[in-house]
């Protein structure tokens, strides 16, 4: 969020995918993930096809493979857990490179790995082609509870303000010779965190005053009406629809 609108995951470009209305993209990604998760894990070829579908979307959106793969690294902690499964799971065992692995565990690991990676890749693509602000408008349009959308909106607006406040407090601490160097200083840091909380809380109260002064009565007025044509919906749903065909084939074959 360092640069306001241009959050780190977003990749500025003018592609057909960028131009789609945000709520169609959100719904499409959600549908895609649901389809992927409900595919039987034994149909390995289906997952390969899903990956091809995503690669096609990335191509249309002009998101380079390197960018996508780097962003996928966020998955690593979860993958680490999946890799443990073949070692700890019970049941029938199989010898691989001299190690005794559980067959069920291997299938489980594959399941988590494949579905997780595809889900994360789809989300990364969504984030790379949709601005944060647009995502919020999309969520609003999809009738997410308005309070949640408002909270997220304020996070975008005030994230930097609060980070800046934190930085000023740190500079003030250090200007008076304080350096955090161990457990003994945790008390000071905790007090700073408390002070930051109080300041942010008070700012929240002032912002609320400013809001009701301008006619706020509990709901955010709709300023940008995001609408999608039938063509845009069908364009966005090309991905989950193709995935659904693959999924059905996976169940029948």
């Amino acid at each position: 969020m360092g640069a306001g609108h241009a959050h780190k995951l977003y990749r500025h470009a003018h592609s057909p995918v960028h131009a789609l209305p945000p709520h169609t993209k959100l719904a499409a990604v959600f549908a895609f993930v649901v389809v992927v998760v409900s595919t039987p894990r034994e149909a390995m070829w289906a997952f390969a096809l899903y990956a091809v579908l995503l690669a096609t979307v990335a191509g249309v959106a002009r998101v380079p493979a390197g960018f996508l793969l780097r962003r996928l690294l966020i998955e690593v902690p979860f993958v680490a857990f999946a890799l443990l499964m073949p070692f700890v799971a019970q049941g029938e065992r199989v010898e691989v490179l001299g190690m005794s692995l559980s067959v069920g565990g291997l299938w489980g690991a594959w399941n988590v790995l494949a579905k997780g990676t595809l889900g994360v890749a789809a989300s990364v693509l969504l984030a790379a082609t949709t601005e944060l602000r647009e995502l919020l408008l999309g969520l609003q349009r999809l009738k997410l509870p308005p309070l949640l959308v408002q909270i997220a909106t304020f996070m975008i607006r005030y994230g930097d303000v609060i980070t800046d406040e934190m930085r000023r407090m740190r500079i003030a601490r250090e200007s008076r010779g304080f350096e955090a160097s161990g457990v003994r200083h945790w008390g000071v840091l905790a007090k700073s965190a408390g002070a930051l909380f109080i300041r942010s809380y008070e700012r929240g109260e002032r912002v609320h005053l400013a809001m009701i002064s301008r006619g706020y009565a509990g709901t955010m007025p709709v300023i940008d009406e995001v609408t999608a044509s039938r063509a845009q919906w069908s364009y966005a749903f090309a991905l989950p629809f193709a995935a659904l065909v693959v999924c059905l084939l996976g169940w029948t074959l």
């Binding site: 306001g4 607006r157 930097d160 005053l209 009701i212 301008r214 006619g215 706020y216 009565a217 300023i223």
Partner: protein, 259 residues
């Protein structure tokens, strides 16, 4: 300031405060019977030391604080539960910290907030936003996030957010605080160019003299003086009695009175 057009029936004053008294729930009494009137098109400064009750008074003007004695009327409309939305549209308060005032992700959405909350949408809303931003000279910053602007620019956008509601009266809380001299002058030019009633709460006395022909002194919860700004600032006894001090070397008699 004479109204340009003289109608047969005089318009009600922009702001009429009568016998306003208020005590906070903790028992601290901030206002002890405040009376004053601001005519349409006037620019009036509300001067007073810290703790005089200026902010408390401002929060009464659009009904955020109520429940004390006395009445406030905006353009003839009494401030009360039944017309709250209308009152909040008519009274545009610009708060001191623009980071509190600008709470939306982009300048455009922030300026649109007030009119949109009143039910405006589409091209009409867009035109209103463009006009308000043009009035403060910030039209080209429409799609920028507020925290990417300089402090002076944010203050100007904050003024635009209330101008977009086309208020009857603009209430500015310390408009010159934290501004560098150039931003200060730019804001003064903008305020002078607006055709709207202004109540400016400040302890920046030269700024009051520059912009407001008339001033009120609020001290210990009452209006202690009401008159032409130049005369009040030249009255040493009055100034000293209410903890108002001019900057070093500033002589109000040597300055041409505000236009």
């Amino acid at each position: 300031m004479d109204p340009v057009t003289v109608s047969k029936e005089p318009a009600p004053p922009s702001l009429e405060v009568a016998g306003l008294a208020f005590a906070y729930p903790d028992g601290h009494q901030a206002l002890f019977g405040v009376d004053f009137t601001v005519g349409r098109g006037e620019r009036v400064a509300l001067l007073g030391p810290n703790g005089a009750g200026k902010t408390t008074l401002v929060l009464h003007l659009n009904g955020i604080l109520t429940g004390g004695a006395g009445t406030v009327a905006v353009a003839g409309l009494p401030v009360g539960k039944q017309h709250m939305a209308e009152i909040r549209r008519k009274v545009g308060i610009v708060f001191q910290d623009p980071d509190d005032q600008l709470f939306m992700p982009t300048v455009r959405e922030d300026v649109a907030f007030g009119p949109a909350a009143a039910g405006m949408k589409g091209p009409e809303l867009e035109a209103r936003v463009d006009r308000a931003l043009a009035q403060v000279g910030m039209a080209e910053f429409k799609d920028r996030p507020p925290h990417h602007l300089s402090f002076g620019q944010r203050r100007r956008v904050a003024v635009a957010t209330v101008l977009a509601m086309e208020p009857e009266i603009l209430v500015l809380d310390e408009p010159s605080s934290n501004l560098d001299p150039a931003s200060r002058r730019e804001l003064a030019d903008i305020l002078r160019s607006l055709d709207v009633t202004v109540l400016m709460v400040t302890h920046d006395l030269p700024y009051a003299l520059e912009l407001c022909p008339r001033s009120l002194v609020l001290s210990e919860g009452v209006i202690a003086a009401d008159g032409p700004t130049g005369e009040l600032l030249a009255d040493d006894d009055l100034m000293r009695a209410h903890r108002l001090e001019l900057p070093f070397g500033f002589d109000p008699r040597s300055v041409a009175a505000g236009s």
